[in-house]
Amino acid sequence: MTAVELGTEGLERRLARAERRGKLRAFLLVAPLLAFVLLSFAMPILTLVRQAAYNTLVSANLPETTALIADWKVDAPVPEPLCEALVREMHAAKEVDPAIPSRIATFVNRERAGSLSRVKQVANADIKAPYCAGLAALHDDWAQPDIWRALKIVAPSFSPRFFLQALDFRLQADGSIRSQDSNEALHLMLFRRTLLVAAGVTLACALLGFPVAYLLAHVSLRVSNMLLIIVLLPFWTSLLVRTTAWIALLQQNGVVNDTLVALHIIGEKGRLEMMYNMFATLVVMTHVLLPFMILPLFSVMKGINPNFTRAALSLGATPSTAFWKVYFPQTIPGLGAGCLLVFILAVGYYITPALVGGQSGQLISNIIAFHMQKTLNWPLAAAIGTILLAGVLLLYWLYSRLVGIDKMKLG
């Protein structure tokens, strides 16, 4: 090795050291934010996804029962060791924490209605061998296979049953899947409705926002600043106030109906129902989400040199050809970004449909809240949430494939 090469190597090492210091400083600067994002965003989401598919309540507290019931064929008679294990482990679990038997009972009850007290009883009753006969003596249900099948479904730690339920399917004890009874099938309809509403809101925002953004980009700076404030005003007003304002406008005795009646366009009896339904959800969501469409569009349009349109005109294009062939294609990155933003926000929108949607205007996020707060079926809520998240990520991926995420401009 010559002296020159030695010198270069020393130089490389020094450069690496100098760069390492810079990288470390950069990392330390973003570390607080990184920690915050991990704690408040990434971890809850991961916990949620995990909860949807993984639960050890039964398998940890009733390990032997879990193992034995996995081997049990759903059509065979219940073997004595399984009955014995269930009785013994239920009592043991009650010793550890008196609440556990009723939580297990809730689990089973979700698969087979009416199982709540049957399962709780097992932990409280004094059952002697033969255990299967003892259980049957406790209640006739234990002599039937149904409750055992429900237990078999909830026992494993890993289970796709909540995801299946989120898509209106039910997992059976023998591992097969059947679709949910039509009167309970709700989620798919809500998913479909949510996608339709999100698409409708996105379309309405694009149609309403495009001319506004065009105007903003083509008036003098002073005027555009003032107009921009009007566009941003909704951002600075409480969501609740805005929604209430819409209620005042749209309700049966609201401003719009009163005006129409006063103008004799509709009769007193024919007042329009515009509140607490799908119409209200669409109108209010469009209003709330409009700025998210206008801002990226505005920023892209402002960057388009007016000479492009002039060039097209000078080359003989009619104004409409110049617009569609030359101007519009250049607004696609902004339009794409606005649509993506509005659609994703609309898909997960909760508060507006909850306030103004009534029955027909409820969306998938409202059913998630329902499962979180009313039925306390958190794993199912988590499963629906996970599917929603996956859908949004899929959409994002599609957008990056079709338009290119690097071309997205958010303002």
Partner: protein, 361 residues
């Protein structure tokens, strides 16, 4: 004006333009452009030259007056029906289209057949020597290449008239000079009428048949490049085109086209009377290269003091004080008769009377 009507391919007749209704950007413009002419509108920014071009293109409407193209009144014809080619500052190539699509654009909007379009795009690319670039996007081209494509696009539909709005402003000096020649040669080859806007006087001098010098919304002088340089009509043109020495004085007498100008201290300097009136202040404009040092048989022989000597290789610039002008420049070509000059040295300066033009102040 019947004479204008017959020879003007493009005619502006008493055209005025105001944006705010108070001040005129273009004031009473009369301009006639011949068929096949290369005419440059030259002037500082805000002088009205770009507005004039935009009125011709149809992007701005004339507030009053008439604009004719090929004897047709075009005031109310929208830009896309005027059939003019235009090259913009920063080229305005459509970024989402390939080079070939850009050039085909004017043909497609005219619904010209596919085969003919392909053929004419190929010819246009050949013309600007960019044949292998048809599949590229504008962003993948250098400034000079984009300029050529913009030119090809503006010419491919064989417009009656080509308008160019500072087309070389974004290029570096060397490329700009190269493109100047290329555009000039293209003009000679195609024989198309070109109206060219620039604020760069050397660009205007290089390329044009005639130059219209704009200032304050008016054409100050419309003339061939050599006349503009050698025979400026007023002090603005003298000042704007090339370098210029100014000696201020008062016209005392006018005879046979000569003005007797009294300088400070009572010295009378004769000059060619261009825009001078007896008793009015005037300034004599002299090009630096027309001044000779230590003149022998010159009618003008004045005293000056050397203030600065700058060596520039092919020539030497001497800044002198002559009367009260401290920026009197003398340009000496670096020939065999070279000698050294010292700051503070007293020298005689002179020029022939015809080279000093008595202009307005």
């Amino acid at each position: 004006m019947p004479s204008l009507r017959t020879n003007g391919f493009v005619r502006f007749e008493n055209v005025q333009k105001t944006y705010d209704g108070r001040s005129l950007v273009v004031k009473a413009l009369n301009l006639s452009i011949g068929r096949g002419e290369f005419l440059t509108l030259l002037g500082p920014s805000g002088s009205g030259k770009t507005t004039t071009l935009m009125m011709l293109a149809g992007f701005e409407s004339a507030t009053s007056g008439e604009i004719f193209l090929d004897d047709e009144l075009i005031n109310n014809i929208p830009p896309h029906k005027r059939g003019l080619g235009m090259v913009f500052q920063n080229y305005a190539l459509f970024p989402h289209m390939t080079v070939a699509d850009n050039i085909a654009f004017p043909l497609r909007v005219r619904a010209i057949g596919k085969a003919e379009t392909t053929e004419r795009v190929r010819q246009a690319l050949d013309m600007v020597r960019m044949s292998n670039f048809e599949g590229r996007k504008p962003a993948q081209l250098s400034g000079g290449q984009q300029q050529r494509i913009a030119l090809a696009r503006a010419l491919v539909f064989e417009p009656k008239l080509l308008l160019m709005d500072e087309p070389l402003g974004a290029l570096d000096k060397q490329l700009r000079e190269h493109m100047q020649f290329e555009i000039k040669h293209l003009h000679e080859r195609l024989g198309i009428t070109i109206v060219y806007v620039t604020h760069d006087q050397s660009e205007a001098l290089t390329m044009s048949d005639r130059i219209a010098v704009f200032n304050d919304g008016r054409i100050q002088q419309l003339a061939a490049p050599s006349d503009l340089y050698e025979k400026p009509d007023n002090s603005f043109v003298a000042q704007f085109i090339g370098e210029n020495n100014r000696l201020r004085g008062v016209t005392r007498a006018l005879n046979n086209g000569r003005a007797e100008v009294e300088m400070r201290g009572g010295v009378i300097v004769p000059a060619l009377a261009v825009k001078a009136a007896v008793g009015e202040p005037t300034q004599i404009s002299i090009r630096p290269e027309r001044v000779s040092l230590e003149p022998q048989n010159s009618e003008i022989n004045l005293e000056g003091t050397v203030a600065e000597v700058i060596y520039l290789g092919d020539h030497i610039r001497i800044r002198m004080q002559v009367f009260d002008d401290e920026n009197f420049i003398v340009k000496l070509s670096n020939g065999s008769a070279r000698r050294d000059f010292a700051v503070g040295e007293s020298l005689r300066v002179g020029w022939s009377v015809e080279d000093g033009r008595a202009l307005d102040v």
